[in-house]
Symmetry: C2
Subunit: 321 residues, 2 copies
């Protein structure tokens, strides 16, 4: 029997790396994971990868024909294949990610920003199938975004397009880890919602179970549950997150005019708590010609291994072209 | 001698329409203009166009082979070829612009938004030659923009991408003619600068020759001259225009990562008065990875018939594909 063509998708996270074997139709033939070892030298990551890769080849054997590897990772430059100053990885200022993975696997390697890869995955395997213009927004520890323009990932002149986390949402607002004030990420990420809870508990007398807790003690999932159960401060924190996200998405619509905007990441588990204020404030800030024309949707891949599928899509896209 | 291939570019403005014959290299072989008659029925415009078109054919005769017509006009939908609810034209809610022009000229007609057409012109004939990612911002009576992504005009899912005039620049700011509050157009257009002068004259005691004048009496060009001569209020009005434009352009850079942003339109005649605050405030609002990487330039075509050249470029682009 002729072996099945497949690519490997790698979702490189700060704690774990997930690695999947994916066929052209998006079927996950095998999934493995290993610790990323972000606090140790890059070579340790490559050793873990090598073990996992050998395991995959042993398991799937002659049944598959591996064509390429796609990698979604934070702070990567798709032109050089390098990670640049990754704040959450102690792998150096410039990490030769693509060449490192290539040396271990002897396969062509294509890397891109994790949010860009999520956008590709949504278009090829998710709710964006058949769409030519879409945006994916990742609301996790930080805020990221990937833009599909005319059926292609939009990477821009320096490969740095699609940055939604560090655009201004509040003039002279919260100090961000990037050095700017009032970045969207400070309000509309899991971290942002936790900060809002902490600040509202300090500055208002709204009733809340989070009163008196430090930021470290405030857990994102608990905030969502508390909001659903009626906790005033938790509800207000999601309202702030959605309002500011909606206002910036109104700009995204005016600039890009996408068919749909997909939300994914940890914050999305709160469902309508984040979706409703986002939709409302986006619509309120749109010029009339855009009203009721751009869908905000929860990503189809949010509960699946969307990041691995997206990375695989990057691999397929590059070998197909 | 074999006739020279050429297209017609039409720049349809609220007062005058300019019509030019342009060869593939961007040479303007002939230029004519006629009143747009925006306050009379659309048929009167078509009659003026027909006269001008006959005049062109008579003058250039067998020397040229006309292939197509490109049209840049406000409020046009490039998918339908219609103008939709043009506020400055009394031609009805839906104006069959493309089919009307086609019926008069018997040539293939391609229409697009005037700012989009300016972006095409900049890429093909202006300072954006060879660039794959660029943005053109028109700062005239209103604010418009056109985005080139990967060497192509980005029009979006409904043909409505590239709207910079009606994104929010100031929360709960000036009421805009579109019904929203705080639109960029209310501050960073010629009209916006005139309004700033009027408001600063009312609300501050800064010395100014514009004190006591009504909005109608405040002329954009005079404001620029007064600012250059040191008028405090005029200088501050340009500072506001550049600050808010720069802040929004920082978002544009983070989303699109263009190689350059070109400014054109009446406000640009003020030169560094608008350029310097725009650059400064854009840089201040950029994430560090974008610093000093995106040029803000005055359009190469600002003193030429850039809008006619851009419309011709739209014609060439469509017959070449």
């Amino acid at each position: 029997m002729k072996p099945l063509d497949a690519v490997i998708g790698i979702d490189l996270g700060g704690t774990f790396t997930k690695i999947g074997v994916v066929d052209k139709q998006g079927n996950m033939l095998m999934l493995d994971r290993f610790p990323s070892r972000a606090d140790e030298p890059f070579e340790y990551f490559l050793e873990e990868l090598q073990q996992s890769f050998q395991n995959i080849k042993k398991t799937l054997g002659e049944h598959i024909n591996l064509l390429a590897i796609g990698v979604g990772a934070p702070d990567t430059n798709c032109f050089t294949g390098e990670m640049e100053n990754p704040p959450n990885f102690k792998w150096g200022e410039v990490v030769p990610l693509a060449t490192g993975i290539q040396s271990v696997t002897k396969l062509p390697v294509f890397v891109n920003n994790d949010a860009n890869v999520a956008a590709l995955g949504e278009m090829i395997y998710g709710g964006g199938k058949g769409m030519k213009h879409l945006v994916v927004v990742t609301l996790g520890t930080g805020v990221g975004s990937g833009f599909i323009v005319d059926g292609k990932l939009h990477i821009g002149h320096h490969g740095m397009a699609g940055e939604l986390g560090h655009v201004n949402a509040v003039r002279n607002g919260r100090l961000c880890r990037c050095g700017l004030y009032g970045c969207l990420e400070q309000y509309s990420s899991v971290t942002g919602v936790r900060k809002s809870v902490r600040i509202l508990a300090q500055e208002t007398d709204m009733p809340s179970r989070f009163r008196g807790l430090s930021l470290e003690e405030i857990n994102g999932e608990e905030v969502a549950n508390a909001a659903l159960a009626g906790d005033e401060i938790a509800k207000e924190a999601f309202e702030i997150a959605g309002k500011l996200l909606g206002e910036k998405l109104a700009d995204v619509v005016a600039f890009f005019n996408p068919e749909a905007i997909f939300l994914t990441g940890g914050l999305v588990k709160a469902g309508k708590l984040i979706l409703e204020p986002t939709q409302k404030h986006m619509e309120q800030n749109l010029l009339h010609i855009y009203h009721d024309r751009t869908k905000i949707l929860i990503s189809d891949l949010v509960d699946q291994e969307g990041a691995v599928l997206g990375a695989a899509a990057l691999g397929w896209e590059n070998i197909d072209n």
